[in-house]
């Protein structure tokens, strides 16, 4: 897997930001957008180009919840654990996802389809409980609704797979 990483994809970002001080987080965000996560090679590459020690980059990359050091599944489920969602029983939603997919917070299903990540608050409190999957928000969740959504996504992925 490692040898497939194309460092040149990051050239433009580094060109724009490498010499702008204080841009590390921005560069890491761009890198994650490009590669889906922050591979070790990329961290070393950024260290090299920005003259920031690897230990420091790792410190930043592990401090912020946004960054991932491992690839995530095709569908990234961001489950809101905000106050309003908590009050509206997001724990039950989490349990449902755990049971349905067999994964807990921070894990990815074996087939690489789903990753679950609990997030602080998506800011859609009036729709609580809420989750966001690949940018799309799903609100007023119930266990049944969640199972339905996950099944649909799995079905979609299978169909896509068949088409290819």
């Amino acid at each position: 897997m490692a040898e497939n990483i194309d460092l040149t994809l990051l050239d433009k970002t580094l060109e724009d930001y490498a010499s702008v001080k204080g841009s590390l987080i921005t560069v890491l965000q761009h890198a994650q957008d490009i590669y889906g996560y922050l591979p070790e090679e990329i961290i070393k590459h950024i260290s090299d180009k920005m003259s920031i020690p690897v230990a420091k980059i790792m410190g930043v990359a592990t401090f912020y919840t946004q960054f991932r050091l491992k690839p995530v599944g095709k569908y990234l489920i961001m489950l809101c654990k905000g106050t309003a969602c908590h009050v509206n029983n997001s724990d039950l939603i989490e349990k449902t996802i755990n049971e349905t997919l067999g994964i807990s917070d921070g894990e990815t299903t074996e087939d690489g389809l789903f990753s679950l990540k609990n997030v602080a608050c998506l800011g859609c409190c009036s729709l609580s409980p809420v989750m966001m999957i690949n940018g799309e928000t799903y609100g007023s969740l119930t266990p049944d609704k969640v199972i339905g959504i996950l099944n649909t996504l799995r079905q979609n992925a299978l169909e896509e797979g068949n088409e290819q």
Partner: protein, 738 residues
């Protein structure tokens, strides 16, 4: 300049001075763990908080600058509470052993790991020095101690415990045989006089330490020679008198006065001693054998175990006949039966109410007794002594079976109805217990156990200036090392008493770890060195010492088996120092604790994340001063950890090994790898010098043990060294000496 008040002290300090600087310049201690003048202030540990008048919040002394007319309190209840909580929280996630379990288990808290490590490195004299911080007679105790230390030695989870006692005996013997014996330093005379009653292990220990503190000490003993139970209770074949004599002589040579054949109440009264001396230590042994309280036991031919051993030790050969029964299962019973064998008894039988598993005697003693032909009758005990004309004829022996466990966890023996047999014996030796003789001590408060009542922390008896330790006090008879431990602790208390202070011994707080299953899997097995002994046939007929001693090679190999449980940086650790100063109770915050168990033993530095308290000093010094940033903080919150880049071992990281991280680390999370075979966890000596490897001439503090330079620390609080000064110089200095 501005005027401030700290703890009521009016001070004038320069502007822009922090409270911490102002305090330390004026000798006021404010604790801190994340502050170091050599790096930028960080404010993480929360230990340096102080209260200032007019400020609702506690202030961090490290970062708050003094302002005109500021009134600061560094010791208010609120401040103490905040610091204490900070320490308790830190310790709730600090995993390590301050001291090794062997040392904690030793009643005298002998630094077992310390001297074992010194032996491994061939520093024998240093090993003796260290032992003698706790034990005045290493050779003797090395031979006879039932070594509770070994029972706690974690090596047993790998294979078998380290032969700690044998190593002590080895190094003690080596010192006795050497031309360059270790002589403990004696403080200048204080003019105070202490009387010690009883010249056994407890009394001699008290004398040894009190003398070293500069006090005039006189030991009174009723017997002809000093040594007490070591001399009169332990047979020659276990502890040769020649060894004991030489070790006692060493104590006398320190300037302790010995007065033998003096019995309190007979030759001199306690009151006289109280009058003539500034303090009195009562350290009698338990010289009376307990009775079995069975019918007929007062006849001729029934003798107490300790009386029997004393007779033999005095050079007499009591007539015991051919058939001897020994009642009891402890070490005195073993000493008695084996002595009986040596006196020529043909049939020696031990009667014990429980089974071998419950016997309190040392396993090796039982084994050797069996080899010498002693017959063991378990689940048996005399219920009546039959005599003829006042002379022993036979013993009625009741058979027992084991019932439910009692409070001590041992299964309680139950008599089996009707199962009694009568056996003829010439002598019966009762070795079931001992108690002290308290004649002459009527003036002191006596416990229900018929011992002198003494406070467990101050060792004070009911009479002012009179202290009691060992068998004669509280708990009653026990092993020598118990008496030694109490006497050593009491000597510290008595020293303070002589200075007019009223203190108690308090067990220090130590961090201790509980290790999970599987922890010991990673260690390679290595066979324990067994003490070579005389063949059973040879020893049966003589009082020659059974144990032959171990060779230097065996000793060093054996010492190498030590797992080094105790923290190597115990003597440098600020955390444990404060923990004791603030009397922490971290158990109340016990919860999830990190157990990473991945010590990084690099070529020059040893890193242990489980001891890290995240003060950030290493990371900061690495970045700020070195500009290297080999170390970084990873993750956040509770799971934050300091790691080299990409969690690589230090050797593979960009670390330049300047060692600055080690020198700023307040705990044992980072330490120098000592350039020796076995890493040592002992307090080193220190010598100030200057590094001449370049023209910067940095001040250095050379740490050494014996002939070995163990590490080099910066010579002052403003200096940080480079790799040359920190590590290369260590090798150079050691090379030059060799």
């Amino acid at each position: 300049m501005i005027n401030i008040t700290i703890d009521g002290k009016k001070l004038t300090v320069e502007e822009n001075t922090t409270i911490l600087e102002a305090a330390s310049e004026n000798g006021i201690k404010i604790p801190n763990l994340c502050y170091d003048g050599r790096v930028e202030t960080y404010g993480a540990c929360g230990l340096c908080v102080v209260e200032a008048e007019g400020s609702a919040k506690l202030l961090r002394a490290c970062s708050t600058k003094c302002s005109e007319s500021m009134v600061i309190n560094t010791k208010s209840d609120r401040v103490i509470r905040a610091r204490k909580t900070a320490l308790e929280l830190l310790i709730s996630d600090h995993d390590g052993d301050c001291k090794a379990p062997c040392s904690l288990e030793c009643p005298a808290n002998t630094d077992c790991q310390g001297y074992v490590g010194l032996i491994a490195n061939g520093e024998y004299k240093q090993a003796v020095r260290l032992i003698k911080e706790r034990i005045a007679f290493p050779s003797s105790i090395g031979r006879i101690c039932p070594h509770p230390c070994e029972k706690k030695c974690r090596r047993k989870y790998v294979d078998e415990p380290v032969s700690i006692a044998a190593l002590k005996g080895f190094v003690g013997d080596m010192d006795l045989a050497s031309d360059d014996r270790y002589i403990p330093p004696v403080e200048p005379d204080t003019g105070k006089r202490v009387a010690v009653i009883g010249g056994g292990p407890g009394g001699l220990t008290a004398a040894f330490f009190l003398r070293r503190m500069g006090h005039g000490v006189t030991v009174f003993d009723m017997m002809e020679k000093m040594g007490g139970m070591l001399r009169y209770g332990i047979p020659e074949y276990r502890l040769p008198k020649s060894i004991l004599d030489r070790e006692i002589k060493q104590i006398e040579d320190l300037g302790v006065n010995f007065k033998n054949n003096v019995k309190i109440g007979r030759d001199i009264s306690l009151d006289e001693l109280k009058k003539d001396y500034d303090a009195v230590v009562v350290a009698l042994g338990a010289w009376n054998s307990s009775k079995m309280r069975i019918a007929g036991e007062d006849c001729e031919g029934v003798i107490g175990g300790i009386d029997f051993l004393r007779e033999v030790a005095l050079g007499n050969r009591p007539e015991i006949g051919g058939r001897v029964a020994i009642c009891g299962g402890g070490n005195t019973a073993m000493d008695a039966c084996r002595t009986a064998v040596r006196l020529g008894a043909k049939e020696v039988r031990v009667l014990y109410r429980r089974t071998r598993d419950e016997m309190p005697a040392e396993d090796i003693e039982i084994k050797e007794a069996m080899e010498e032909g002693v017959d063991f009758c378990f689940l048996s005990s005399p219920c009546e002594i039959i005599s003829e004309n006042g002379k022993l004829k036979s013993v009625k022996i009741q058979k027992y079976e084991l019932g439910e466990p009692d409070e001590s966890g041992r299964r309680r023996p139950k008599a089996v109805d009707g199962s009694v047999e009568e056996v003829e014996f010439d002598t019966v030796i009762m070795a079931i217990g001992q108690y002290p003789e308290l004649e002459g001590f009527e003036g002191l408060e006596i416990s229900a156990k018929n011992t002198i009542l003494a406070d467990s922390g101050s060792f004070r008896t009911s009479a002012d200036g009179v202290f009691a330790v060992g068998d004669v006090s509280n708990r009653g008879a026990s092993i020598a090392i118990e008496a030694i431990g109490e006497a050593q602790k009491a000597s510290v208390v008595i020293d303070r008493y002589l200075n007019g202070e009223d203190v108690k011994y308090k067990k220090p707080f130590y961090v201790e770890r509980t290790l999970p299953d599987g922890y010991f899997d990673k260690f390679e097995k290595a066979v324990r060195a067994e003490m070579p002994v005389l063949p059973a046939d040879e020893r049966k007929n003589s009082f020659k010492e059974v144990a032959l001693g171990i060779s230097e090679e065996t000793a060093v190999n054996e010492a190498m088996r030590c797992l080094e449980c105790g923290c190597h940086d115990y003597y440098e650790c600020k955390l444990i120092e404060y923990a004791n100063e603030y009397d922490v109770k971290p158990q109340k915050f016990s919860g999830e604790k990190h157990f990473r168990n991945n010590e990084d033993k690099s070529s020059l530095i040893i890193r242990n994340a489980d001891k890290c308290i995240l003060c950030g000093l290493c990371v900061r010094v690495c970045e700020e001063r070195e500009g290297v940033t080999a170390l970084g903080l990873i993750g956040r919150g509770f799971d934050t950890i300091v790691n080299p880049e990409l969690s690589l071992p230090l050797d593979l990281s960009s670390c330049t090994f300047c060692g600055a991280c080690v020198d700023v680390c307040p705990t044992g999370a980072l330490k120098e790898k000592q350039p020796i075979k076995k890493q040592l966890a002992v307090e080193e000596e220190s010598r100030k010098s200057v590094c001449e490897l370049c023209d910067k001439l940095c001040p250095i503090d050379i740490r050494y043990i014996g002939d070995t330079v163990t590490r080099i620390k910066p010579g002052d609080k403003n200096t940080l060294l480079c790799k040359k000064g920190k590590f290369d110089l260590t090798d150079k200095l050691n090379g030059a000496q060799k």
